[in-house]
């Protein structure tokens, strides 16, 4: 088994004492930040990016693996104990888990979510191990036109197909694409949309955008609401351990959740919401005690949590093999690679197998550390949750601005941060999705470069996009995915007028 050998090699890198320590720090920091209410995994990664600036790439990516999974664990703890999901993928967990906590079953809820995440994370990471080398072999034959078409699919699915409103999703995407234009055009050296400001020549930093949109936008949004109601934390009463009955009711949802999460995460279909809700509704249908749903059914925590984690691991497949981020968190991971000038994709597998496989192996290690550390330390995480809101957001803004200052101590960068913060606030307030902006900024320039490469090879003949069967198919898929929400809505309207 070629993949297996590579994994062993990766494990030998990840298990070096220094790297184990990086993974440990990543796991602790990721959980600590992820547990704070209102902070999802994407923001966790963005906020902690500066911590890794001075590390070597391998150490930094290993720390990232820890931060990534730690942020997810932290998010579900918050969802269960105070019913403020940091991201929509934790909504289902909050639905049932918080009810369990209210009924004094917070311990088992946390346990089934932690163990479920471990099971799902481990299985899904195994999925990466076997799927990635195979995909890399296919991807190595991709021409630039195929990449361009693939990115079109990602653009459409991330922004239009699965959101509430395709117009708003596409609006977010195009704002991201516009931000991606800013700076020097890499192929010709022309400055675009820089308005004579020298600091803009390097383009817009993904981290500045993400931290502005997520952290500052969120703080403004929460503060702007007339009465900011203090969240009440459910204390963890009783035993942390799951009873035999809990185990019996949990293991199947874990596996089913993984089965939903991994494939959907691995497709460029955007986000973990779909698998978590699929898992939730499936468990509700299959459960022997359907009446418990809505009042704290353990299956409703076990399944969606597993689906969430499996899909997070699934998004690493297109990220590592194709360089294609399909969620805001994956986009932040890509930014983490780019700070070292590394571009994930088939070439990185060939040139730096130590990095890629070290990262994949660290996912196993981070997962293992989390299951060992998380339940015993739950008291500590609960303490973090009880930081008063004024100090909590004061601290969040301090760390948000510090990251920007540390990366690039210039006033222009800070002003950008504030502008993006205001933009994030307005988008939250008027219900525009934020993730497509980040995806647009990070993928837009890559898509443009691929398109121009394809067209310069074909001497400017646009038919090249349709001559490659793969690219033609992908473009048709993108068109269908773009048209689908409009057509479905039109059908809905027709039906409702007929009634």
């Amino acid at each position: 088994m070629e993949a297996f050998g590579s994994l062993i090699h990766g494990l030998s890198i990840a298990a070096q004492p220094m790297n184990l320590m990086y993974a440990f720090i990543g796991v602790m920091l990721g959980t600590a930040v992820g547990v704070l209410p209102g902070i999802g995994p994407a923001l966790t990664v963005a906020l902690l990016l500066p911590v890794t600036f001075k590390l070597d790439p391998a150490g930094s990516l290993i720390m990232f693996a820890g931060i990534y999974y730690g942020g997810m664990y932290g998010g579900s703890t918050t969802a269960i104990l105070i019913n403020t999901p940091g991201e929509s993928a934790s909504l289902a967990t909050a639905l049932e888990g918080h009810k369990m906590a209210k009924a004094g079953r917070g311990g088992p809820a946390l346990a089934t979510s932690a163990i479920g995440s471990f099971v799902a994370g481990t299985l899904a990471t195994l999925g990466i191990v076997f799927l990635a080398p195979w995909l890399v072999k296919i991807a190595i034959q991709f021409g630039p036109e195929d990449y361009f078409a693939l990115m079109c699919v990602a653009f459409v699915t991330v922004s239009a197909t699965f959101g509430d409103s395709p117009v708003r999703g596409l609006t977010s995407l195009f704002i991201g694409l516009m931000l991606g234009l800013v700076g020097i055009d890499t192929l010709t050296g022309q400055a675009r949309l820089t308005f004579g400001i020298p600091e803009l020549l390097d383009g817009i930093e993904v981290t500045t955008l993400a931290v502005g949109l997520f952290a500052i936008g969120e703080a403004l949004y929460i503060a702007s609401r007339p009465a900011h109601l203090a969240d009440t934390i459910e204390p963890v009463r009783g035993s942390l351990w799951m009873t035999k009955e809990d185990w019996k009711r949990s293991w199947k949802p874990w596996l089913r959740g993984t089965a939903f999460g991994f494939p959907i995460g691995a497709l460029p279909a955007g986000g973990a919401e779909i698998p978590t809700f699929l898992s939730y509704s499936t468990e509700k249908r299959l459960c022997k005690y359907p009446k418990e749903f809505g009042h704290g059914a353990i299956e409703g925590v076990a399944g969606p949590e597993a689906a969430n984690n499996a899909s997070a691991a699934g998004t690493l497949v297109p990220l590592l093999t194709l360089g294609l981020p399909t969620s805001a968190t994956a986009a932040m991971m890509l930014a983490g690679f780019q700070q070292y000038g590394l571009n994930p994709g088939p070439l990185l597998f060939a040139e730096r197998p130590d990095l890629v496989w070290g990262l994949i192996a660290s996912l196993f290690i981070a997962n293992f550390m989390l299951i060992v550390l998380n339940l015993p330390l739950v008291g500590l995480w609960v303490k973090l949750l009880s930081i008063p809101q004024p100090w909590l957001y004061g601290g969040i803004l301090v760390f948000a601005t510090m990251g920007t200052i540390a990366a690039n101590p210039s006033v222009v960068e800070l002003i950008q941060l504030v502008v993006f913060g205001l933009m994030g606030f307005l988008m939250r307030r008027y219900d525009f999705p934020v993730a497509p902006v980040v995806i647009g900024l990070i993928l837009g320039p890559i898509a443009e470069a691929q398109l121009r490469r394809a067209l310069s090879i074909s001497l400017g003949d646009p038919m090249v996009l349709l001559q490659s069967p793969l690219s033609a198919t992908l473009l048709v898929i993108a068109l269908l995915a773009l048209a689908a929400p409009f057509v479905l809505r039109g059908l809905d309207k027709m039906k409702s007028t007929e009634d």
Binding site: K54, A223, P226, H228, T401, G460
Partner: protein, 157 residues
């Protein structure tokens, strides 16, 4: 999506459509100013035009939504809190811009944000902010050797 019988015209939606149209216009003007004539295949001007056209179409889409009442109504705003947070950020930028250093700027941001969330103990929060900023500064500059902007306080270390 809920269907309300009345078709309410939404001023915010119209404003958003206006902003998008303005952005499209800015891109087109900026791109027209590029002096490069022709390269093989597609030059640096093509993508901006595509994005500008997309934004223009979306401006129309948002306008249609606004005229047919597709936008959700925003709730009431606590302007004071927003002004305080933005004031804190402005203070940070000013302090750093004029060489006051990371610690003072960050402490101000912390205290102003805390005030925005309803605390009424600005002086205490300022002290907490100073403490927090000092710890952050020491960890990042000494332990991780990142350069943070220095002012009078930072030179003490």
């Amino acid at each position: 999506m809920e269907e309300t019988g009345q078709r309410r015209i939404d001023p915010v939606g119209i404003a958003i459509a206006g902003v998008l149209a303005a952005l499209a216009l800015i891109i087109i003007l900026d791109t027209n100013a590029l002096t490069l004539t022709s390269v093989y295949g597609v030059g640096p001007k093509a993508m901006p035009y595509v994005v500008a056209v997309g934004l223009g179409v979306l401006a129309i889409g948002n306008l249609v939504n606004a005229l047919t009442g597709g936008m959700p109504a925003g709730e009431e705003l606590n302007y004071q809190a927003i002004v305080r947070i933005l004031g804190g950020l402005a203070a940070l930028i000013a302090v750093i811009g004029f060489g006051g250093g990371f610690i003072i700027g960050t402490a101000l941001l912390f205290a102003m944000t805390s005030a925005a969330f309803g605390r009424k103990a600005f002086h205490i929060d300022l002290l907490i902010g100073l403490g927090l900023a000092t710890v952050v500064f020491l960890v990042f500059s000494k332990l991780l050797s990142l350069t943070l902007p220095s002012g009078p306080l930072e030179h003490l270390f």
